[in-house]
Symmetry: C4
Subunit: 246 residues, 4 copies
C-alpha cells in the first residue's frame, strides 16, 4: 500500500483542540491509559487526524497524524499509528455526517455491552442515547478474536452496527461516540459514561425508569448541540491550565 | 419587554459569596460543567442575582447579573443569561421565604426522579428531606419537550410542584434546592446529593430503612440552619484558596 | 458549673498528632466538613483533648481544648466546644481502656445504621469489627429528637450501647470508633468506612459472605495494632505535606 | 538461618522501576497504605527484590532489599522486611515463569474472595482473568489464623492455589497478580481491580454476562503483553512527576 499524500495542513488551533480533546476525556474519566479521539480533516473528507499510538493523557499537537480512510498514515515520520485506527476510518467512510469519533474503554458502559441491557438516556445531557445504542459483538462475524478492531473489515462491521446512531457499545471492550463536531463527540462520550452510571443506579430501584422518550431525546439533543460550547470551554481551559504546551 | 432598572448595587462581599457558591457546588460534586445558584437581591425582593450563562466553575463576581422576577436582566451589558433563569424567577415569585435557589444535574438524585422512589432523609445533614421531595415531570403539563425549563410557565409549574418544600427533583433532568439563605441552599444541595447516594446503598440492603421521621427532620434541620456556617466557612476558604480572585 | 482547672500542658508533638488526626480523617474520606476526634489527656485520665467547634480539615494545635469528663472546657479562651463533646466525655468515662475516640458521618456506614444489617469484618484491616458493631437508635431512650448527642445523658446512652466494642453506629447519624491509642482510633475509623463499602458490594452477590470469624478478628486485630504505625506515618506525612503548620 | 550473600547489584534503572511500581499501584487505587510489589533479581533466579516494610507510596530505590527464596534478606542493613515476603518468595519458587509479584488489599476484589463468585474477564484489559482466578482460604490448611501470610508454609499454600494462573484472591485479605515482567504484573493488578469493579456492576443487571471466553482471553492477553508499555510509560511518568527522586 503506497503512502498517501497529505491533503494539506490543518489549522494549528484545531490541532490543539484535538490534543485537548484527548486530555479532556482523560480528565472526565472516559479514557484511562488508553482511548483515542479523532476528527475528520477540515478540508479533506477522505482524511482524518488522530494521535500516534500513545497514552491520551500525553498527546500534543505534534503527536497527531493524518490518515486516509483505509487507515494508512500520510507522512507518519516514524510515528506508529494505533492498531484500532480502523474504527475511525470505517466510521468516517460510512457516515458522511460524522466529523469526529471517540473510542474508549469507559468502565460504566462495559456492563451494558456484556449483558445486552439497553443503554437509555437518563437525562437531557445524554439525550442522543434516546435514539438507541447498538451493541457490537465481534464474535458474530469474526468468531474468536483478540477483541481488537485490527482490520478494515472489523471496523466496517462496527460501523454497520453503529448505523445512524450517536453511540455504540463494543462487547467486552468499550464504546464509540460520534458527532457533527469534535466538541459534540467529546460531550457525548462524557455523558454516555455518566448516563450509564446513572442507569446502573436507577435499575437497582426495581421500578420502571422514565427515561427520555425518543422525541424528547431529539429535542434535547438539539439544545445540547447548541449549548455544549460552555462545557467544552471549561474543559479545554482546564486541560490548558494543566499543561499549556499541548 | 423593556429592560428593568437595577434595584441598586449588591454589597461586594455578597457577590463574592455567590460566585463562591457556584464553585463550592462544583467542588462538592453537585455541579458539573453546568448548574447555577442564585440569591434574592438583598434589598429588593423582586430581583435576584445569578451568573451569566457559563460554567459554574469559572464564575466571578463580574459575571453576576441582576434579573427581575420575569427573568429579564437589568443591564446585562451583553452578558447572556441562562435559558433556565425561569426556575429561579418563578420560585422567588412563589416562595417569599426563599432567599436562594440552586439547580443542578447531580448524578445521584437523577435515578429517584426517574423511578419515583421517594427521596428520604438518610441522616441529620439531609434533615430537610424528611418533609418530602416532590418530583416534577415536565410531560404532565407540557407534553413532549426538550426538558429545558425555558419559559415562565414551565418555571411556575416547577415552583408549584416544589410547593413549600426545600427540594424538588426534575425527571430526567436534576434537582432544585432552596433555602432561607445562600448558605442554606448550598448546604441543602450538597446533602441532597449525599443523602441520595446513601439511600441508593441502603435500598440495596432489602430491609426497612429507618430514615428520619418528619418531626426528627424538623428538629434536626433547625440545628443545621444554626450550625452550617462551619461547613460554609470551610468550603468558601477552599474556593478562595483555589482562586483568590473571584 | 465551675470551670475546671487544667490538668497541665500536653506535649506539643501529641497536639500536632491530634490536629493531624483530624486532617487525616478528612483526607481518608471519613470526615467531611464535620467530624471530630479526641484523645484522653496523656497525664490525666479525667480529661480529654479535642478541637473547638470547627471543620476538621482546618484544625491546628491551637484549636485544641481540654475538657473534663462532664464535657466542661478548661480555659477555652472564648473558643466554643462542639455540642457533641458528650460522645467523647461519656465514652472516656465508661471505657478506661479507651485513649481516643473518633466520631464521623461517614457515608458508607450510614446505610447499616438505618437497616440494621450487621456490619461485619470484610478483611483483616477491619478485624476489630468481627467482635460485633452495635447500633445506637436515639429514639429508644429519648424519643423524637434532633439526632444530636447534646447532653451527658445521650452520650452515656451511646457509651452503653458501644459497651466493650471498638465501633458503634448511630442511626441516621454516623459512627464512633475507639482505640487504645489515637493511631488505633484513626486506623479503625478508616477501615470501618472501607469495610462497610466492601460489605455493601459483597451483599450484592447474593451469596454467603465468609467474613472474618470472631477469633480470626481477634488475632488479626492484634497484628494491626502492632503494625498500623506504617499507615499512620504515611497519613501524617501527607497531612504535614499539605500544611506543615498544624 | 545465616544471612545469604547478595547475588550482585541490580541495575539502578530497574530499581527505579520497582520503586515506581509501588507508587503506580497507589496512584491507580490498587494499593492503599499497604501493599507490595517485587521483582525477581534480573541475574539470579533464586533472589528477588522488594521494599522494606513501609507504605508503598513512599518507596524509593534505597528502600529495596534483596531476599532469597526462603524470604531471608541479604544485607538488610537494619531495614525490616515485610512479614508477608513469603507470598513473593514461594511464588517465585513455584513459578519459574514469574518475574514479578504484586500483593494488595484492593477493595473491589475483596467481595469476590468472600463470596466465591468467580472473577471473570469483563474486557480485553483483564484478559488474563479469563483463564480463571482461584481463591485461597487460609482456613482450609491452617484453621483459625491472623490471616497474615507469615510463614513459608502459608506462602507455599497460596502459591499452590495460584497454580499456573495470573491472579489469585485471598479470602478476607486481598489478591496477588503475577507476570512475566514487572510491567505485566502491575498492569494485571490494575485491571484485576478494574474488572472486578465492572463485574460488580454487570452482575446487578441480573442477566447473563458475555465475559471473555478463555480463548478470547488468551488472544487478548497476548496483545496486552505486547502493548502495555504505553500504560506503563504514562504511569511511570506520572509517578516521576509527583516525585522525581525515587
Amino acid at each position: 500500500m503506497s503512502v498517501p499524500i497529505s491533503a494539506g495542513p490543518v489549522p494549528p488551533d484545531l490541532l490543539v483542540d484535538l490534543a485537548a480533546a484527548n486530555r479532556i476525556l482523560v480528565a472526565q474519566g472516559v479514557f484511562d491509559a488508553a482511548g483515542h479521539v479523532s476528527m475528520r480533516h477540515p478540508s479533506a473528507r477522505e482524511r482524518f487526524i488522530m494521535s500516534r499510538a500513545m497514552a491520551p493523557a500525553l498527546v500534543r499537537s505534534t503527536d497527531l497524524i493524518e490518515l486516509d480512510l483505509d487507515g494508512v498514515a500520510c507522512a507518519a515520520d516514524g510515528r506508529q499509528a494505533f492498531i484500532e485506527r480502523f474504527i475511525h476510518a470505517e466510521i468516517y467512510k460510512a457516515r458522511p455526517d460524522v466529523m469526529a469519533v471517540a473510542h474508549s474503554h469507559s468502565a460504566s458502559v462495559i456492563p451494558f455491552g456484556l449483558t445486552g441491557v439497553p443503554l437509555r438516556a437518563m437525562y437531557h445531557n445524554a439525550a442522543f442515547l434516546a435514539a438507541g445504542v447498538p451493541v457490537f459483538d465481534i464474535r458474530e462475524k469474526f468468531g474468536t478474536t483478540s477483541i481488537v478492531i485490527d482490520s478494515p473489515q472489523k471496523g466496517a462491521a462496527l460501523a454497520a452496527t453503529l448505523a445512524d446512531k450517536a453511540a455504540a457499545l463494543l462487547r467486552a471492550h468499550g464504546m464509540v461516540t460520534v458527532g457533527p463536531s469534535l466538541q459534540a463527540a467529546v460531550f457525548r462520550a462524557v455523558f454516555t459514561e455518566s448516563s450509564a452510571r446513572i442507569q446502573q443506579q436507577a435499575m437497582a430501584h426495581g421500578a420502571a425508569i422514565a427515561a427520555l422518550e425518543p422525541e424528547e431525546g431529539r429535542l434535547a439533543d438539539a439544545v445540547n448541540l447548541a449549548t455544549h460550547g460552555r462545557a467544552w470551554d471549561l474543559w479545554k481551559q482546564q486541560a490548558m491550565a494543566a499543561d499549556s504546551n499541548i
